[in-house]
Amino acid sequence: MISIQQADFSLQQEYEALRADCPTIGAIVTFTGLMRDFNQGDDIQGLFLEHYPGMTEKSLADICSQARDRWPVEQIRIIHRIGELRPSDQIVFVGVSGQHRGEAFAACEFIMDYLKTRAPFWKREITREGSRWVDARDSDTDAAERWQK
């Protein structure tokens, strides 16, 4: 299930849903991305997350289906927040359940790497001096390209 929302989320609630009543599940891997208060040498006071409604959901669904083609996982859950966020806020959640840990780890990291480089979200940082669009990072592109080898 994929959610794009302004509201915060509860890790426990998502975890319970991934775990729910399925005794074949042996492994649950979760990733939570939090807002840091520091980037490129500046204090960050806040963040604004813009996205492309419609395409966002489509691209995340496509990333999930690619993950499922690669690994036999059970459930996948993605939540991405949009709008205004403050330091230490939760931004993104990816949770994967599966029979074995290797698959759950790989699928979870793959989804994050692809989300970072393919899902249409853009961050605008608010600093003391004003606001600025965040630049894409080469390290994210490199992380995503690893999976194509």
Binding site: E50, M55, S59, P120, W122, R124
Partner: protein
């Protein structure tokens, strides 16, 4: 009609969120559309040459040689930075 959307840094650079227009005669691909828009004025020209610019047709990122028939949703945007 082609529906065109602009996002993030690009949206600010062109001062517009979206627009619709009939497919111009000179436009057969998304590259043609970008060039067409870039001829509007200097701000547009600079914006449409933004480094790393991406284009999506009907909400899927495509190559710059993707053809257009005139009834698509086309979006231009800078590299994504979510997550």
């Amino acid at each position: 009609m082609i529906r065109i959307k602009y996002f993030a840094r690009l949206r600010e650079a062109v001062g517009q969120r979206e627009e619709s227009l009939p497919l111009p005669e000179s436009v057969a691909t998304v590259t043609d559309l970008r060039d067409f828009l870039g001829r509007r004025d200097e701000a547009w020209q600079q914006a449409m040459q933004m480094g790393g610019l991406l284009v999506a047709v009907n909400q899927t990122v495509v190559d710059w040689n993707q053809p257009l028939s005139g009834d698509e949703e086309v979006a231009f945007f800078p590299p994504v930075t979510g997550g």
